[in-house]
């Protein structure tokens, strides 16, 4: 598919998903009431629902999804591994650990910003450990090994806090947060996440050409004039800041970074640079739609976003498995 057509199409789908997202919810809100509230009518209920509940949720769905989708695409290109996603470099788990510590010690109750800030600190800490462990080596393998070590350590830390949690309620709160959600998020959350995500997106989109060159291997890319060391710094900073900011407000939402590039790749010329922007848009659409599903599937407790994305991930891999085995 032509690149401009694909990006325009995905852009429209993003808009449509965002519009759907502000229409769906417990209280029905017609498109007409939304439009009137937007141009400043004095319908206080519609305005509160729209500006305090639906808009932040839709904005976070789009931006968190875009960040996770792009991070997956960039990491798959860099590590030349179609199974890479933000969690392989340890950032997601470390950000989650930061948040879990805030919940465990009751810090999260002091101020709404404490939890997301702790998550970002967790992500930055993971990044520093990653650079320290991987050293100056430019090999992706050392990075994966370091990432898995950090990810496992952070995972163990999360298990430890659950294990030692002072009461069942605290454990429940932590477990619930870990399932990921965009419920009851305010504009404050948007203000915390959006700058991080903007920086992350910019740093990752910068790497298109270098990722393409890596198709020829590390020597091939270097011989084309690519500075792999600089590229790695941009990439890791982008993933840590962006995904850290995203996880900080949404909790752990898995699989988006893994599946979106797989859905996008066949629609492009398959070069790593060609899937970057479309994966960001695709991630935005997928997460927003998943967040709508969370609201419309009738369950006694609201479904959690991470649960829905995990279920969505399975069919994508089954399709790939069947293609690999040439069954389909």
């Amino acid at each position: 598919m032509n690149r401009t057509v694909l990006i325009t199409l995905l852009g429209f789908c993003c808009l449509a998903a965002a519009l759907l997202s502000i229409t769906f919810g417990t209280a029905p809100l017609s498109l007409q009431r939304i439009f009137e509230a937007l141009i400043g009518s004095d319908d206080p209920v519609a305005r509160i629902i729209l500006f305090d509940l639906r808009m932040p949720r839709a904005l976070l769905g789009l931006s968190v999804g875009a960040m996770l989708g792009l991070a997956g695409a960039a990491l798959q290109g860099y590590l030349r591994n179609p199974l890479a996603e933000p969690s392989v470099v340890g950032v997601s788990n470390s950000a989650a650990l930061g948040a879990v510590i805030a919940l465990y010690f009751g810090l999260a109750e002091l101020h709404a910003a404490v939890l997301p800030v702790m998550a970002i600190i967790g992500a930055i800490f993971a990044l520093m450990m990653l650079f320290a462990l991987a050293g100056k080596s430019e090999s992706p393998l050392t990075l994966i090994l370091a990432g898995i070590a950090i990810s496992t350590l952070a995972g163990a830390g999360i298990s430890l806090t659950l294990n030692l949690s002072p009461n069942p309620f605290a454990a429940m709160e932590i477990a619930t947060w870990l399932l990921g959600s965009l419920e009851d998020r305010s504009f404050n959350h948007v203000l915390i996440a959006l700058p991080c995500i903007a920086v992350g997106l910019a740093l990752l989109l910068w790497n298109g050409r270098a990722l393409d060159a890596l198709t020829l291997g590390e020597d091939g890319a270097k011989a084309l004039g690519i500075d792999l060391g600089l590229m790695r710094i941009r990439l890791m900073l982008g993933v840590a800041i962006g995904v850290g900011g995203a996880v900080a407000v949404s909790g752990s939402v898995g699989f988006v970074g893994l599946i979106v590039p797989h859905i996008i790749r066949p629609l492009t010329d398959r070069s790593p640079s060609a899937i970057l922007l479309p994966s960001a848009l695709g991630g935005a659409i997928l997460l927003t739609l998943a967040d709508i599903l969370v609201r419309v599937i009738p369950t006694s407790n609201e479904l959690k976003l991470g649960v829905v994305t995990a279920f969505l991930g399975v069919p994508v891999f089954l399709v790939h498995l069947m293609r690999e085995r040439r069954i389909w």
């Binding site: 198709t215 020829l216 270097k222 004039g225 690519i226």
Partner: protein, 258 residues
Amino acid sequence: MVAIAIESLHISLGKQAVLRGIDAHLEGGMLIGIIGPNGAGKSTLARAILGLQKATKGRVTIDEADVAALPHAQIARLISYLPQGQTLHWPLVVERLVALGRIPHLAPFSQISDADRIAIDRAMTLADVSTLRDRTATELSGGERARVLLARALAVEAPVLIADEPLASLDPGHQLEVMDLLKDQAAGGVTVIAVLHDLTLAARFCDRLILLDKGQVAADGDTAKVLNAENLARVYGIRAWLGAVEGSPAVVPLFRNV
């Protein structure tokens, strides 16, 4: 034309000395073959000329500028490199793959220009892969893929071309075609450095051969001087038939010296 000077170059990988004092001046407009047994240091020498492998001692200069001090991007415009082993991580379409060769010439965030497109077409025609333009590179045969990757290297249009085993996985017809192509590039003023294993093709096409043995230059000069019975026995440990077929030199390995 670009002149490359290698000055008492030593390279150690870990504790092992791979290159132990290489000296050579490589002039433009020549097809220079680097030959030698496995592990002699041929690929390491190629990588050192590109600045991909740091010198432990000594240095490599391109037009008197130290490679270690030159920015990657500048080296990329001066030397085009065809690495060994046909590495290809994503299933790119052939034309897109060949276009990667234009990366050194692109300004940041710019798109491929018409001039780049002409260079890409020229490279594909030279390497005889124009008909494969829309095919997926990873689905090609080994020989087709080798030629596509050669086209990628030619698309850089650099004054120096280093090809590490460009004949691997090619049938005899395409081997001759690739050697002809490298020879033409050299005749056009490009310094072509090719790491080769086929001694007959090396003898027939190269203007100069550098025979490496255990990280040192065992012989350097025109093919008749380098490819003699004594050098082959000493470096490769073989006895070979050396002669000419229809006026072209030929080397046929016969026995391993015990």
